[in-house]
Symmetry: D2
Subunit: 157 residues, 4 copies
């Protein structure tokens, strides 16, 4: 029995979209925030040659990047408007080469908490219009109370 997700911030989706926009690294690699729901987030990353490792597949660092990012934002959907979020740690199992034209990370909260949230991301690679499970991530995310996710807000305090 898992408690149903309780929303503490009705503007969770707008906040996450704004936060994602401020991540310049997401823009550099061309990642897109494709779904935001209570306790769940999806990020997509289209293939580009400058995203590859030595065998020509998506680099493992990018699998971890969108796994962590989707897991963190899934956790963030359930936090207060006054909270910020921090990745404490994550573990990534790579189960197949990321050989395809699109990478999709789908994250869901396993256990929300006032101080710590646990989320899991499944990462799929799309090849010939078929999704293949490529990796899974289990991560722990900490609530930072009374700290804005937007540094420009902090500066004006």
């Amino acid at each position: 029995m898992v408690a149903e997700f309780k929303l503490r911030n009705k503007d969770y989706a707008a906040r996450i979209r704004a936060s994602f926009e401020r991540q310049h690294f997401m823009s550099l690699i061309g990642a897109q925030l494709t779904k935001v729901a209570p306790g769940g987030v999806e990020i997509q990353l289209p293939f580009r040659k400058d995203l590859t490792q030595q065998h020509g597949f998506f680099h493992g660092g990018l699998i971890g990047t969108i796994a962590d990012n989707a897991g963190g934002y899934a956790s963030f959907t359930l936090m207060e408007a006054s909270d910020s979020i921090l990745t404490l740690e994550f573990k990534l199992n790579i189960m197949a080469p990321a050989n395809g034209n699109l990478l999709i990370s789908r994250a869901r909260v396993l256990r929300p908490g006032s101080r710590v949230t646990v989320s899991q991301s499944d990462i799929y690679v799309v090849r010939d219009d078929t999704e293949y499970l490529c990796a899974t991530m289990l991560g722990t995310f900490m609530t930072m109370p009374d700290m804005s996710d937007d540094p420009s807000v902090q500066k004006t305090r």
Copy 2:
């Protein structure tokens, strides 16, 4: 008591430098392979604004990227000339914000094996000329026998 590292490929350094060069993603982010020794590798990543997360620090995905990459290459230094390498999994603990002008990942092999190697990377952020421990990674890497790290070699088989 840990057995001393046994080198199975005297050209390990040249192989790793060539492999790093083929990782287009390393070039995109400006990462540099700064040290290669038996069982140990260092990667550096200078700060750029397009590498940041929402608070203006190095993105966590990049901490994971150079942690995994250094750990993998540290493991690869001890493998046969005919082997390739695969990241099975890694776990990253982020212990402080990556707030600085340079990120350094130093990896060392904890336990080499013919089939599986375990390595650890410590990631430091440099701020005001001082190194601060920012994260640590523990990863498991698999030997892929008779598979070249260079895909152009595979194609000619």
Copy 3:
């Protein structure tokens, strides 16, 4: 898309029951192997006072024990009759205190492989006839070809 599980050993259930019987530590703590299916295993552990940590709940080490054991045996169901199995690593997230009269670990294979299998276990604690999600484990298990799981068989070789 995940490939369906392929059984390589029709006597997988008998082998796992016999292996579990040889684990004297399972007998010491009173753990029971309650389900064995292709790619899935369940282990139960009834509460006893000598299994507790300082707050009187099931000790965390026991959560890890039945999580790892169920994940390993779930992986073992899909291996050849001539294979043995080894835990390479596992990661456990404890999400709630194991406060109850029964602990249940349910494991499933996420990705079988000839050399390495990835499995996940969800651990529930039963309190007042209700199951509560208590922990989740993500683990990596290696196939050991031509090595019997039964040491008495090895000795006669």
Copy 4:
């Protein structure tokens, strides 16, 4: 640069010894708390046949048990007298079979924090009077403010 450990509770050693005593599971398996220092703890576990897995070695669950326990208590040495401690998660890499007559877990704090502490344990197996590195654990432990480690104290509130 890692900040030196700051002691917040001068009676840390007595508190940890008392907590260890209340863990009935430690008594069941015969584990001993052999060292307690600021930021570091050692636990030893002598071999017994009822602690074994199917090959006759120490069970992997016990490696995890003393790894987690030593890592948690190492973290606890640095916490306030009014704090309790919780394992959020740990990851264990098993690097060699635990084949020997004694298991030793040595833990050290990597990064103390007011809310979260990261610790690492190295686990050695002793065989023929020689220590062999058998496993390593990286774990995350949360401070629980104003909650006694001793449940009998809580009850009187």
